[in-house]
């Protein structure tokens, strides 16, 4: 196999999620919220996780860090974490609680969805930061206060805000405090679940710029979750698109934008009006995301897919190479159109755009 795009192969994996499945509920009416998810985060990378409400983004983040609240149950899979500091590697899902506790906060941190409203209203911000540090580090009170001040300054808030109560801060500042807390123990991996969704675009931009700056400075890796693909295209190195509990496409963010391979990805891109350039008529995607309790057979997207053929109702597509095979070794898609083994028409030109000159090629998969 000749590898034409070698840049990805250099990076070492930090987190490898293999065949991860999650149910909500314990008996027959359990809902399968994640089905056989495979995803790799490389060191120093910002990986974006995008998809519509309810597709399982938060579930994936919490299951991968074993923070899934009941009735969530991990029913299969493994999550390998390879620390770059200790060079140790282990399956997070099989660690004892004690091992996990010792390790988790040091190596991974989460900024939870809606967490800016999770600050305790009766305590000053400084106390909450210090308590967070004290739970994991042994140092003197004054050293911790100094560290808390340093963390606040790092996220662009002046240190005298240590003595503010949460309600005295704007939403954007509270969100930065949460980011500061996540960074307190210098984790290798930071998972951010919709960290900017409740903020307006100017504040969102400030926070995103801050995250990139801190990442470059401190060298952590990021999984950034949002339903806003256009934000991810700018921010992330790579994007995984989820639909109804599965990953349907995984590629570099520019590739996702300019050369989508999955019909759902293409549909999502047709749902965002462009801010610049020619105005185009947009259709969105017909129908609405499926109910996880009554999923269509075969491909879960087929009821909304403009290209669906008979095979789509019969076979479940697996995440694999694109129609261009070895020419695109670092990207994958779960769609029968790209699978030689399934009898489908040629990939439509829209889903077969190639980087060279960005021309459309109607491609025959055989």
């Amino acid at each position: 196999m000749t590898i034409t795009t070698p840049q990805r192969t250099q990076a070492e994996p930090l987190l490898e999620i293999r065949n991860l499945s999650v149910d909500y509920g314990y008996d027959d009416d359990a809902v399968r919220a994640l089905s056989n998810v495979n995803l790799t985060l490389h060191r120093g990378e910002i990986l974006g996780l995008a998809g519509e409400s309810g597709c399982g983004k938060s579930t994936l983040a919490y299951a991968a860090t074993r923070l899934l609240p009941p009735p969530g149950v991990i029913t299969g899979g493994e999550v390998l974490f390879t620390s770059s500091r200790s060079r140790e590697s282990g399956d997070l899902l099989r660690m004892s609680d004690k091992q996990l506790r010792a390790q988790r906060w040091r190596d991974t941190a989460i900024v939870f969805q809606g967490s800016m409203n999770a600050l305790n209203p009766v305590y000053k911000v400084g106390k909450q930061l210090i308590d967070g540090i004290a739970a994991h580090e042994k140092m003197s009170r004054s050293a911790m206060r100094e560290r808390a001040a340093e963390l606040l300054t790092m996220v662009g808030i002046s240190a005298d805000r240590l003595d503010s109560y949460p309600h005295q801060l704007s939403g954007g500042m509270r969100q930065r405090v949460m980011i500061a807390m996540a960074l307190a123990l210098e984790p290798e991996l930071v998972i951010m679940d919709e960290p900017t969704t409740a903020l307006d675009v100017v504040m969102q931009r400030q926070i995103v710029e801050q995250i990139i700056e801190l990442k470059d400075k401190l060298g952590f890796s990021v999984i950034f979750i949002t339903h806003d693909v256009s934000l991810l295209i700018e921010l992330a190195d790579r994007i995984a698109i989820m639909y109804a509990g599965e990953i349907v496409e995984d590629a570099g963010s520019r590739e996702v934008y300019h050369e989508p391979r999955h019909p759902y990805t293409a549909g999502l891109l047709h749902s965002f009006p462009p801010l610049r350039g020619p105005k185009r008529e947009l259709g969105g995607i017909p129908g609405s995301p499926p109910d996880l309790l009554s999923l269509p057979s075969g491909c879960r997207f087929r009821t909304r897919c403009p290209y669906a053929v008979d095979a789509c109702a019969q076979l479940v597509p697996e995440l694999g190479g694109t129609v261009f095979g070895d020419e695109e070794p670092h990207r994958s898609v779960a769609c029968h159109l790209h699978d030689d083994a399934v009898d489908t028409p040629a990939v439509p030109a829209e889903l077969a755009v190639r980087p060279e000159g960005r021309t459309l090629l109607g491609v025959d998969p055989r």
């Binding site: 662009g156 675009v201 100017v202 400030q206 999502l268 009006p273 801010l275 610049r276 969105g284």
Partner: protein, 354 residues
């Protein structure tokens, strides 16, 4: 188009259907004595039949308050609301009810805005009978079906007996729109009507609103955080900052050649995948201002990279550029040519438009 106002070719009719003049709303501060929140200060806005006006701006800048004032859900502090040029002062009675029929509001949250215990049939029947009075059973039945068809919930019988929880978010928002249409309104005030919906179905609801606007010649106020959707969907765009309008004009002009430094910041901040290569950090800083004691002069001056001496003391009036495009910023004063050139270089925004 030639019969329309020469300085604004995008207007569909000259007299506004609904207008606000110097509209002001101050909320008392709890336990704050005589202090007030300046939520909306001296706002002028015009809605024309057959036209969508987008209202964009920072969170907390007063957008929802304007919609609620126009819907008469609460009294304004001062200023006028004019329907077809006549000030609307009624707070109850027949004239007030008539106003409420003609001016309908659609809210952000399709989950909260429909009562979970009522079927679609009940929700729509109630809207029709409140606003249209008595009618025969057959007539009502026909109207119910027609309303659902208008919002593309077809065939109607599939939806009439459903409860809200049996519908998807997009379907619920369509029912909320059908309910508003049940009143046979002339103005729709839509406060972030799609921001709670899944990304892939937002455009569908916006396209529906646009079709309805065209078919029934509605005046639509579209409140949004998403300036790209304002460009897509609205004829004109109005930008707010800290309770005041800082810029307005045809949507294309406002989004492609923003005049006011706040609008420029807003647009530079919006995600835009097409500008990956040229993007530099916006270096956006600063926090939204206090609305209890707003900054003197231009309310944006503490965050403005171009602030001049008079920005700190005098509130800028609206300065006109072209084709109804105007902004409240001292850089566009006639005597500020030098400052304007210093701020933007040779090519001043607004002058570049053909």
């Amino acid at each position: 188009m030639s019969s329309h106002s020469h300085n604004d070719p995008d207007r569909t009719s000259d007299a506004p259907l609904l207008a606000a003049r110097n509209l002001t709303k101050h909320f008392p501060v709890k336990g704050g004595g005589s202090r007030v929140v300046h939520a909306v200060d001296s706002v002028d806005i015009e809605l024309h039949a057959g036209e969508v006006v987008a209202l964009v701006g920072e969170s907390g800048s007063g957008k929802s308050t304007i919609a609620r004032l126009l819907a008469k859900l609460m009294p304004h502090t001062s200023g006028d609301i004019l329907l077809e040029g006549t000030a609307v002062t009624a707070r109850f009675g027949r004239r007030f009810r008539n106003y409420c029929r003609r001016v309908q509001m659609i809210l952000q949250d399709p989950f909260a805005s429909l009562n979970p215990i009522h079927r679609v049939r009940y929700v729509l029947t109630r809207s029709i009978s409140i606003h249209r009075g008595r009618m025969s059973r057959d007539e009502r039945e026909r109207m119910l079906r027609e309303l659902l068809e208008r919002v593309d919930l077809t065939p109607p019988e599939r939806y009439l007996e459903k409860f809200p929880h049996e519908l998807s978010g997009g379907q619920r928002q369509r029912v909320a729109i059908a309910r508003a249409l049940g009143a046979d309104p002339e103005v729709l005030l839509a406060d972030e009507p799609v921001s709670m919906l899944d990304v892939s179905i937002r455009i569908g609801v916006l396209n529906l609103l646009r079709d309805l606007k065209d078919r029934f010649h509605l005046a639509v106020l579209y409140i949004t955080h998403d300036i790209a959707s304002a460009r897509y969907f609205a004829d004109r765009t109005v930008v707010m900052y800290a309770g005041q309008i800082v810029e307005r004009g045809p949507s294309e002009a406002v989004t492609q050649h923003p005049l006011h430094p706040y609008t420029q910041l807003l647009i530079a901040s919006a995600p835009d995948a097409d500008r990956l290569e040229e993007r530099e950090a916006t270096e956006a800083t600063g926090e939204p201002p206090s609305l209890i004691s707003p900054p003197t002069g231009c309310r944006f001056h503490p965050r403005c990279p171009f602030a001049m001496e008079r920005c700190r003391t005098d509130a800028p009036p609206m300065f006109s550029a072209e084709s109804g495009h105007e902004s409240a910023c001292w850089l566009y004063a006639d005597d500020a040519e030098a400052e304007r050139a210093a701020a933007f270089g040779a090519q001043t925004p607004g002058e570049a438009q053909a």
